[in-house]
């Protein structure tokens, strides 16, 4: 019980919020809008999976929003040229992996702090994209949206696929040696090295995974609309970091679970519609998001203090 305290408290908060909505705003639960709202979160969910890994290994990556944007434009341009979706997907994944690898080289092998490295790569990718695309939207062929399926089939497919990915990565993280290495390096890189783990390789791999997931998320975002907005990645990194922090992933590394981040993401994603349904103005979203992040870290800080004293 105590072991899962953070995850369970976030889940509790989410259930509470959903209950409040059920009583005061039951139309929140109309199936079709709810399905659409959940589908809109799938790209953020994919990024949150990656961000959780990055934070468990005691790093951070604030360039994922920019990576997401670059991958979206790459996939969009390829799809617009008439190539099949699988080619666009492969290109987006490759672009993401390359950008992730650049972060990984600078952070893992050169020993530079991830916050500043990803800050620099964020600016570089975002501005390159702005120079290249000049804010122009990319129109996609009709068969790209929802993979050419019907809307509800596409939505269900996206949700099913991303939750399956979450479960899969969660299982790998808990039960395979590669996953345990991530926790080990995040808790104490030197001890992990003495235990025969290569911390640099582990860190590098996590950043490559993060980049690849950014590519996947960009494609999952692309199939939801008839156009690609080159600014679609702006501030997405904050959403992923917030979800992980709220979900109990420790910034100090070595601690966190994917289902906690999942609950965190759902909690944050429910706040905004909840505001609208409960007739609070939506302008408060960002402030409340910041407040939730602060509350989560304050709770963590107080807890760890009580445990040490």
């Amino acid at each position: 019980m105590n072991r899962y305290f953070r995850e369970l408290s976030v889940t509790g908060a989410l259930v509470l919020l959903l209950a409040v909505l059920a009583i005061w705003a039951p139309h929140f639960y109309q199936p079709q809008p709810l399905l659409s709202r959940f589908t809109a979160q799938t790209p953020a969910l994919i990024l949150t999976i990656g961000m959780t890994l990055v934070m468990i290994v005691r790093q951070i990556d604030i360039s994922v929003g920019a990576q997401f944007g670059v991958c979206a434009v790459v996939a969009g341009l390829i799809s617009a040229s008439g190539a099949p979706l699988i080619v666009a997907l492969a290109a987006a994944l490759a672009a993401g992996a390359i950008m992730g690898a650049l972060n990984g080289v600078l952070i893992a092998w050169m020993g530079l702090p991830s916050i500043v490295v990803s800050l620099a790569t964020m600016v570089t990718w975002a501005e390159l994209l702005r120079l290249f695309q000049q804010g122009k939207f990319i129109n996609l062929p009709a068969n790209v949206q929802w993979f050419g399926l019907s809307q509800s089939a596409g939505q269900q497919g996206l949700i099913f696929g991303s939750v399956l990915l979450l479960a899969g990565v969660s299982w790998l993280l808990k039960n395979r040696s590669g996953g345990r290495h991530i926790y080990a390096v995040g808790s104490d890189a030197e001890a992990a090295r003495l235990a025969g783990i290569n911390p640099k390789l582990t860190t590098f791999t996590v950043f490559v995974i993060m980049g690849t997931l950014a590519g996947l998320a960009a494609v999952l975002n692309m199939v939801q609309s008839p156009q690609v907005d080159p600014k679609c990645g702006v501030a997405l990194e904050l959403r992923a970091i917030a979800a992980a922090v709220v979900g109990g992933v420790a910034v100090s590394g070595g601690r966190g679970r994917l289902w906690g981040s999942f609950a965190g993401l759902l909690l944050l994603a429910t706040i905004n519609p909840a505001l609208t349904f409960l007739h609070v103005e939506a302008y408060w979203e960002k402030a409340i998001q910041g407040l939730v992040i602060l509350l989560a870290v304050i709770a963590d800080g107080l807890r760890s203090r009580r445990q040490t004293s």
Binding site: I115, Y283, L294, I298
Partner: protein, 334 residues
């Protein structure tokens, strides 16, 4: 720390700053020859006027980074302070002077909020200021309902945006005063020199009898005050206050500090290095937008930010590369 070690760090620092000055000279030389109207006195004061806000934030960011921390919230705080100033002067009909005073006070309070969470609760600065980054900007958006813009300030206040004394724009005086203040604080006072000690080794500093947590709080409070001053300058220059004021400024400020040779891990750096970093960025963004080809394509802003990002990556990677080369040869290359 052995004396040889300190000498090699010193020579590295020296090299970094010499390199930066070289970049600066190359920039100026290139733009004098290729950019339109770059060397005119008018443009020089233009550069000073436009770099003041980011310059102020960078000067305040420098002690924060020196202690081994970071403050991502300064850009958002600039926006919040600008909006609060607008609320006080417009919605509450306060006079300019008390409104400005209260704005600066509130900036200090916001900084103290960061400082409290970081020192009293011992939370990581990165995640605390990431939270307030979102919180401050969110409050600014909530107050203005996302769209409202405060215009038509007191003409005397707006005149400050164009005010000159002895040929130097007001922004230059404020920036110079701030540089002097932070320079004296960081380099010449016992209080400020403890920032460096804390960044170098918090535990060792505590054993030396310095109240580490109380000292760590001060740079964040100063950063809050400075962000408020920058907000006033920003409002006076653009003649309007909006919730999105100062978006991305924290990145530019961090870039200037790191470019200026301050170690991102804390413990070493100089204020004059930061000033050189500010100048390098300001001249780059002004000059590049005056190169005819860039001017014609209308991509000055993007290109300047792109080059700034690339410069930051280079500045970051350079010491690590030098270290790699040195350890490969097993002897310092001087």
């Amino acid at each position: 720390m052995s004396s040889q070690n300190s000498r090699s760090i010193k020579s590295l620092l020296l090299r970094h700053e010499v390199l930066l000055v070289l970049v600066l000279v190359l920039e100026i030389f290139y733009f004098l020859n290729n950019a339109r109207n770059f060397g005119t006195p008018d443009n020089l004061s233009n550069i000073v006027r436009h770099s003041a806000e980011i310059g102020l934030l960078a000067l305040a960011m420098m002690p924060v980074i020196l202690t081994g921390g970071i403050d991502l919230s300064v850009g958002s705080l600039l926006g919040l302070c600008a909006v609060l100033f607008g609320v006080m002067t417009h919605d509450w009909h306060w006079a300019t002077l008390p409104a400005a005073f209260v704005t600066i006070l509130l900036g200090g309070l916001a900084g103290a909020f960061n400082a409290t969470l970081i020192t009293a609760l011992r939370l990581p600065p990165l995640i605390v200021t990431l939270g307030t980054y979102s919180l401050f900007r969110g409050l600014a958006e909530a107050i203005t309902q996302g769209t409202k813009t405060y215009r038509s300030f007191d003409p005397g206040f707006l005149g400050l945006g164009e005010f000159r004394f002895l040929g130097l724009p007001l922004q230059g005086w404020v920036l110079g005063f701030a540089a002097l203040f932070f320079g004296i604080l960081v380099h010449l006072t016992v209080f400020g020199r403890s920032f460096r000690a804390i960044g170098y080794s918090p535990e060792g500093t505590r054993y030396a009898g310095i109240p580490v947590l109380r000292r760590t709080a001060m740079p964040y409070i100063l950063a809050g005050l400075t962000a408020a001053v920058a907000a006033l300058l920003f409002t006076a220059r653009l003649q309007q206050a909006r919730a999105d004021a100062g978006t991305g400024y924290e990145l530019a400020a961090i870039t200037a500090v790191v470019l200026g040779g301050t170690s991102i891990f804390g413990g070493s750096g100089t204020v004059y290095g930061t000033l050189t970093g500010i100048a390098a960025i300001a001249i780059l963004s002004n000059g590049i937008s005056r190169v005819p080809a860039v001017l014609k394509a209308g991509i000055g802003g993007e290109l300047a930010s792109l080059l700034t990002g690339a410069l930051l990556l280079l500045a970051l990677a350079a010491p690590a590369l030098v270290r790699l080369l040195q350890s490969a040869r097993k002897q310092p290359t001087t």
